[in-house]
C-alpha cells in the first residue's frame, strides 16, 4: 500500500464543474514526486484537495492507510502533512518569529520543543535568525518564500505538499529553493509532492513524475523516463487534446 493514495478523485470549486476528473496518484513513503503539466491542469487543486482545503465529490484519499478524504485541514496537519501553497504563505504583519511560531501550532503546549525547533530553523536559515524581530512584510520576495517553507518545517512533516515554490523568483533564488527542497528530502526522509511549472527543474530533483492535463493523469513514471523531448510531446498532445 502506498503512503499517499489518491484514488479516482473528482473535485472542483463550482457545482457541476470538476477540475479533477477521476484522478489517481500514489506516492511511496520517502519518495519525491513531481507533478507537472500545463496551466489549468488541476495541479494546485490536487494539492488543495489532498490537504483538505477542498473536499472531493467522489473518490478517496488515504494517508498511510488512513482515510483522509473528508478531513479538515487541521486534522490532516495533525497527521503530519505540511502544505506550502503557491505564493507567499505568511501573515505579513506578524514578525518572522511569530510566523515561525505559528508553524508550531500543533505542538504549542510543548514550549521546550517550540524553542528547540525555532533554534533549529534559525541555524538552518541564518537570514531568518537575523531578521526574527522584523515584520514579514519587510522581507524580500525570496526571504518571504524561505519563511513560508521554514514555517512548514517547524512541524517536521512526514508528507510535504509544495505548490509552485519558485513562481516569480529570480533564477538564482529558484535554484536555492530547489536545493533546499532536495536537502529537506535527503535529511528528513519526508515524502515530498511538488507541483511546478518549471518542469525540467522539478523532474531533475524528483524520483517519480506525474504529468497532469485537464484534471487527469496523462503519464507517469520514474523521473529519468521524462526526457525533455518526451515531456514536450506529452504537453503538446495534452494541449491538442490528443
Amino acid at each position: 500500500m502506498s503512503y499517499l493514495d489518491v484514488h479516482e478523485v473528482t473535485a472542483g470549486y463550482q457545482p457541476g464543474i470538476d477540475v479533477l476528473q477521476g484522478l489517481s496518484l500514489q506516492a511511496e513513503s520517502g519518495a519525491f514526486v513531481a507533478i507537472i503539466g500545463p496551466n489549468g491542469a488541476g495541479k494546485s487543486t490536487l494539492l488543495r484537495t489532498i490537504f483538505g482545503l477542498l473536499h472531493p465529490h467522489r473518490g478517496r484519499i488515504t494517508l498511510d492507510g488512513l482515510d483522509i478524504t473528508m478531513q479538515s485541514p487541521h486534522k490532516i496537519k495533525q497527521l503530519g502533512v505540511g502544505f506550502i501553497p503557491q505564493g507567499i504563505n505568511i501573515a505579513p504583519h506578524l514578525t518572522v518569529e511569530e510566523n515561525l511560531k505559528l508553524g508550531a501550532w500543533t505542538f504549542r503546549s510543548n514550549a521546550r520543543l517550540v524553542r528547540q525547533r525555532l533554534d533549529e530553523i534559525y541555524t538552518r536559515f541564518p537570514v531568518l535568525a537575523e531578521r526574527r524581530r522584523v515584520r514579514a512584510t519587510e522581507l524580500s520576495g525570496g526571504q518571504a518564500r524561505l519563511l513560508s517553507i521554514a514555517r512548514e518545517l517547524m512541524s517536521e512533516p512526514c508528507l510535504l505538499l509544495v505548490d509552485e515554490p519558485t513562481a516569480g523568483l529570480a533564477p538564482h533564488l529558484a535554484e536555492h529553493i530547489y536545493e533546499l527542497l532536495s536537502s529537506i528530502h535527503q535529511r528528513s526522509g519526508s515524502t515530498i509532492v511538488l507541483v511546478d511549472q518549471h518542469m525540467e527543474a522539478a523532474i531533475a530533483i524528483a524520483d517519480y513524475v506525474y504529468l497532469l492535463a485537464l484534471g487527469q493523469i496523462k503519464a507517469h513514471g520514474p523521473s529519468e523516463t521524462f526526457t525533455p523531448t518526451r515531456v514536450r510531446e506529452l504537453i503538446q498532445a495534452s494541449l491538442l487534446g490528443v
Partner: protein, 297 residues
C-alpha cells in the same frame, strides 16, 4: 464662552464615552478582520449585555456586586455568541455560498430583529435601571458621576485585556494571523471554524461588556444598543474598517469632537457632530485614517 471647568468636564465626559464606544467598535472591527463580515446585530448583543447586567444586579448579585455582573454578563454574551456562530454564520463558509457579504448582511440583520423582538416579548418596552452604589468622583474642581468613571475604567480594562489576549496568547497569535491570511492559518494546523467561533464570541462579548458597563448610564431597554452601535460604526469609518489600532484612536477622536462641539456650539446636536466628522472624513479620506493601507489586529 464656557468656563474652563465646564470645558474640562465635557472633554473628560467625551473621552470616557469615546472609550466605551471604542469597545463597541473593537468588537465590530475584530469580527470583520477575522471573518470578513459585518455583524449588524452588534447592538443587540450590547442590549443583551445590559439586560444581563440588570438581571444579575437586581435579582442575583445585588447592587454591591455590580462589577461581578459585568464579568458574568460578558462571559454569558461570549457563550451566546459561540453558540449562535455555528448556527447562523458558519453556513456562509461552507458549501458553495458565493455572495458571502450579502449572506452575512441578511442573516445578521435577521438576528438583530429576532433578538430585539425577543427582548420586547420577554421584558416589554420599559426602561430599567441597574443601580450602582458608586459615589460621585471628585478630581479637583471636576466631579464625575461614579457609574461613568467606572464604565470608563471598565472599558480601559476590557481594551487592555483584549490587547493582552491578542498579543500574548497562542490564540491571539492565531487570530492576528487569520486577519491577514486565512489560508496560512489553516496550513499551520489551526481549526479555522473554531477560530471563527472564538472571534465571533469575543467580538460580541465586547459589545456585551459595553452594554453592561453603560447600563446604569443609558438604561436598559430593547433598542438601547442602537446609539452605541451607530457610534461604533462611526469610529470604524473614522479609523478604517479592520484596523484595531485605528479604532482606539477613532474612539478618542469621536469622543473629543462630540465633547468639544457640545461645549463650544450646542450640546443639543451632540450626535450630529460625529456624523459631520464622518462625512468630512469620507470626502477627504474615504478609507479612513488607517483603512486598507494597514489592516491588522
Amino acid at each position: 464662552m464656557p468656563s474652563a471647568d465646564l470645558f474640562l468636564q465635557y472633554i473628560v465626559a467625551g473621552m470616557m464615552l469615546g472609550a466605551l464606544y471604542t469597545v463597541m467598535a473593537l468588537g465590530i472591527t475584530f469580527i470583520y478582520s477575522i471573518m470578513k463580515m459585518i455583524n449588524w446585530s452588534m447592538g443587540e448583543f450590547y442590549m443583551i449585555g445590559s439586560y444581563l447586567q440588570y438581571i444579575f444586579v437586581i435579582y442575583v448579585l445585588g447592587v454591591k456586586y455590580w462589577y461581578l455582573g459585568v464579568l458574568v454578563s460578558a462571559v454569558s454574551v461570549f457563550i451566546l455568541g459561540c453558540i449562535l456562530e455555528p448556527v447562523v454564520i458558519r453556513p456562509m463558509f461552507g458549501g458553495f455560498v458565493e455572495r458571502r457579504t450579502e449572506y452575512a448582511t441578511v442573516v445578521t440583520i435577521a438576528l438583530m430583529l429576532a433578538l430585539r423582538s425577543a427582548a420586547y416579548v420577554l421584558g416589554g418596552p420599559y426602561q430599567r435601571n441597574p443601580q450602582t452604589n458608586l459615589p460621585r468622583l471628585t478630581l479637583g474642581e471636576l466631579t464625575i458621576p461614579g457609574e461613568r468613571a467606572v464604565a470608563f475604567a471598565g472599558a480601559i480594562i476590557a481594551i487592555a485585556l483584549f490587547y493582552g489576549f491578542l498579543r500574548f496568547t497562542w490564540f491571539g497569535l492565531a487570530l492576528r494571523a487569520a486577519a491577514q491570511n486565512r489560508v496560512a492559518i489553516q496550513t499551520a494546523g489551526v481549526n479555522i471554524r473554531r477560530l471563527d467561533q472564538l472571534a465571533f464570541g469575543i467580538g460580541v462579548a465586547l459589545a456585551g461588556v459595553a452594554g453592561a458597563l453603560l447600563a446604569p448610564v443609558f438604561l436598559v431597554y430593547p433598542t438601547n444598543g442602537a446609539i452605541t452601535t451607530m457610534k461604533g460604526f462611526e469610529i470604524i469609518i473614522i479609523a478604517g474598517l479592520g484596523s484595531i489600532p485605528g479604532a482606539l484612536l477613532g474612539g478618542l477622536i469621536l469622543g473629543l469632537v462630540e465633547a468639544l462641539c457640545s461645549v463650544l456650539l450646542s450640546p443639543g446636536f451632540q450626535h450630529a457632530y460625529g456624523f459631520l466628522l464622518v462625512l468630512a472624513l469620507l470626502l477627504v479620506r474615504p478609507y479612513g485614517l488607517f483603512g486598507e493601507r494597514e489592516r491588522e489586529v
